[in-house]
Subunit: 146 residues, 2 copies
Amino acid sequence: MTSGQEVHTAVGARLRQVEQRYTASRRRLVDVLAGAGRPLTIPEILSDDARLPQSSAYRNLAVLEQAGVVRRVQVHDEFARYELDEDLTEHHHHLVCVGCGRIADYTVPRPLERALEKAIARVTAATGFDAHSHRLDLVGLCASCR
Amino acid sequence: MTSGQEVHTAVGARLRQVEQRYTASRRRLVDVLAGAGRPLTIPEILSDDARLPQSSAYRNLAVLEQAGVVRRVQVHDEFARYELDEDLTEHHHHLVCVGCGRIADYTVPRPLERALEKAIARVTAATGFDAHSHRLDLVGLCASCR
DNA sequence: CTCAGTGCAAAGGATTTGCATGCCG
DNA sequence: CGGCATGCAAATCCTTTGCACTGAG
């Protein structure tokens, strides 16, 4: 896990690469997401920092996504969710609770992760599909919804 | 892979379990999805069979989903997609092309699938999250978009 | 006859955009 | 100063719903 300061430095660099500024509200969005440790919906983000107007949140999250700073996570939920890019945090997957709709991060054992990557390489060779990344979600019930 | 006739029989049974009829338009939806071999968006489904009005398609897909006949697949796409439930087809995963937005089905080698299940069992034990199913998507570029 | 299913048109709701204003560079 | 970022409000667009009609049992 990188410190908050490092994250901001890295985010600033990425934004500059796509000729975007690292403004105060964008910084706030990054702060909220960095502090969550799980993908957040827009309503969650807005309630976390009341100074963020809805439309600016949507607009800035789109900019941040384009800059490779945040990632949009789509689930069966009605709301889209956002999280920091894995380069800024760590490679992980999601536990999707069908009871309460919450999403938690988790990481799989290193050996399995390696097996996944090997298998993905085989898929590329066999199908001609060039995989940039993979998503492994577990769908079920979290401890409090069981 | 089950034949078209078997699929209809199984679908009819599931609908009866939730006290729903297997009507002509529901049958058409199942036919379209069975013939696709990949998750389809509503526009794709509608253009495949012009006799399906939009609102009925949405409504019947919701019924079929509730009956466990179809599954809603959410991707970065703007449209939701639907596919037949895995019990009616076969356990598989998705190749998501970021170029054209298309989604293809694929299956991973049996040994990896077993490794996944073992790892999932460990996650359940360690975190208290009770996983009913898993999703493994590969995100990248398909052969024609490379 | 009764009631679920259908289809049209209108409503809903998350997300996007137009436009006037403020602020960074 | 010039142009991007902002914030409000209005528009978009996928999806859902109200309502009158049809058809199966």
